[in-house]
Amino acid sequence: MTDIFKLLKGTPEDSDYKKKGVIVQGITGAYGSLHAKNMITYGTNIVAGVTPGKGGQKFEDKVPIYNTVKEAVDASGAKISIIFVPAKFFLGAAKEALEAGIKLLVAIPEHVPVRDTMEVLDLANKKGAVIIGPNTPGIMIPELIKIGIMPATPFKAGKIAVLSKSGTLLYEISDALTNAGFGQSITIGIGGDPINGTRMIDAFDMVKDIPDLEGLVVVGEIGGDSEEILAQRIIDIGFKKPTVAYIAGRAAPKEKRMGHAGAIVMGTYGSAESKVTMFNKANIPVAKRPSQVPVLLAGKMQQSD
């Protein structure tokens, strides 16, 4: 199983413990450069950028830019990369990263064709690499490392793990958690696509054994059955940490795609009722509003005391 903390932080013996290098693919684009700057400000160790044709230049006078991921990896030794290229170039960029030895790939682009995602996952499996996304806000350990596009302010270091399909709801709910005194040990953006590199259940497996984990928040939405599968796993392994869920899309009409490529109810498949029913079966309360999440979490914690 993937030790996501080892990938993100390293181990105390590493010379770069807690400052693992990250490569930004598409660092000179408007979107890539904005978020590269934000990540640097947050404290993420951005060691290289990649933009074909701009090799040899420097980003913000500091970060060297390379033409290929291979050159960037050879020069920096980084195992983590974040991709900011238009969706139609994602397949090429992701394959290049995996071939160059990247082990954690954060895939920001929205509108990536599903076939391209499946092809990338196939290669990632062969290479033993983890893909977060596509169509994800990214992954972060608050106050340590941010690999993504999330704003800094909602997050605070703590002991709650947050898994979310949606970006803005991740910010909204983390903000509410932070204000209620619940910091986060890690937040993982699953992404809003039908096919996810790291599924809800994979993300759960990454966080469930965190030694000082005090709670889990799952932010789901209509479409697919990843929430149901997660709820079943929680039942099966008897996971006892206080867990609260939120599901967006209760009022959405059937057979309509609600913004995210994956947010669509087909018949009863993917419906909010199905997800809420399964969470209830797993004894996990489902919040009606984002602001209710910390209240329910506090309630669960009291019960388990």
Binding site: V114, R115, G167, E172, P194
Partner: protein, 368 residues
């Protein structure tokens, strides 16, 4: 995008899947010509992008001219689950021995294509019994795999051979056109043992549109939807009176839920996306101004990627230009939200600290 039956069948025909003779029309004049060419008896089938056509009276047998004159306009005039007829398909009637089910779909949890087949088709997938389910990776279906499925279906002779052929052709079509679902239900065994696709459902991956110019003729979009897409928005029109605008699909869905919980009726779902600018939000307001049913606008923005001041500017400009004359109930949070509030202080946009307050105000404000 979801293709209509006759469009799906066009693709099936191109890939050599067996079909009965059929013709699509949109007027009775055209239909009369097709009736002559096909000859009676045939079936009149409404073309709508939803299931449940048969139960709603959208599929009628037709034996002669009198029946045709009576039934064609009836079927053309139907509305099924809110969907009007896009066309009418006339299809020759067939002598069927048995109905099977066959589909390939994108299996989200297993992250691969999956075949579902059953010897008992002709009903909706939820009720299909004895399902044979086979995962097939990226969608390649070898002769051996197709044979295995045919065997599990207990098909023999010509029916088995035809099934293997149909399944492989359907898989090729699914992969090449990047479908999320390709379904033949029913797949009929005829008296001579041959197989015919009597219905077709085909849903493609919108994100792969850029690779499929040949499918764009099937795209059905209103002017408003087309403009929204051009601006990088996600828009779903609904039938209420409060337009819901926000950034991020999850946040807008959540706002829709809370509005509905409070008795409000959303007029649309409008996600301006991460790359919102003054121009794009102004365009969003332009689109909303074209929806006659809208009586108020509920805005829920969690800035972060989006600067809320950018949105405030767009509102001010929309009022200045007299583009909108509607009350706006807004919750703006995130980068520069204090500045955005200040900018909008004297406008018709009211700013609230929480989304709950904004929703309550919107529901009360619209009732008045």
């Amino acid at each position: 995008m979801r293709l209509l039956e006759f469009q799906a069948k066009e693709l099936f025909r191109n890939y050599g899947i067996n079909l009965l003779p059929s013709k699509a029309s949109t007027t009775i004049e055209e239909g009369r010509k097709h009736a002559k060419e096909l000859g009676y008896p045939f079936v009149i089938k409404i073309q709508v992008p939803v299931g449940g056509r048969g139960k709603a009276g959208g599929i009628q047998k037709c034996q002669n001219d009198d029946e045709f004159e009576l039934k064609y306009p009836q079927v053309l005039g139907l509305t099924i689950k809110g969907e009007k007829a896009r066309a009418i398909l006339l299809e020759k009637m067939a002598d069927i021995k048995k109905e099977l089910y066959l589909s390939l779909f994108l299996n989200r949890s297993k992250r691969c294509y999956t075949i579902i087949a059953s010897p008992e088709g002709g009903v909706e997938i939820e009720s299909v019994k004895n399902q044979i389910i086979k995962e097939v990776g990226l969608g390649e279906v070898s002769d051996q795999v197709a044979r295995e499925v045919a065997k599990e279906m207990k098909l023999e002779g010509k029916a088995a051979d035809d099934f293997v052929d149909t399944l492989q052709k359907l898989a090729k079509l699914t992969v090449e056109k990047e479908a999320e679902l390709a379904e033949i239900n029913p797949l009929a065994i005829m008296q001579d043992g041959s197989l015919m696709a009597l219905d077709g459902k085909f849903v493609t991956d919108d994100n792969s549109n850029f690779r499929h110019d040949e499918l764009q003729k099937y795209q059905e979009k209103t002017e408003i939807e087309e403009r929204a897409e051009k601006s990088g928005f996600s828009l779903v029109e609904l039938d209420g009176d409060i337009a819901v605008v926000g950034n991020g699909a999850g946040l807008v869905m959540s706002t829709l839920d809370m509005l509905s919980d409070n008795g409000g009726k959303p007029a649309c779902f409008l996600d301006v996306g991460g790359g919102a600018t003054t121009d794009s939000v102004y365009e969003a307001l332009t689109l909303i101004s074209k929806m006659n049913r809208v009586k108020g606008i509920l805005v829920n923005l969690y800035g972060g990627i989006v600067k809320t001041t950018v949105v405030a500017e767009a509102f001010l400009k929309a009022y200045d230009d007299k583009l909108i004359n509607l009350p706006v109930f807004a919750r703006l949070k995130g980068t520069e939200s204090d500045k955005a509030k200040e900018m909008l202080k004297n406008s018709r946009t009211k700013i609230y600290d929480s989304v709950e307050e904004a929703i309550n105000a919107a529901v009360m404000g619209i009732k008045k």
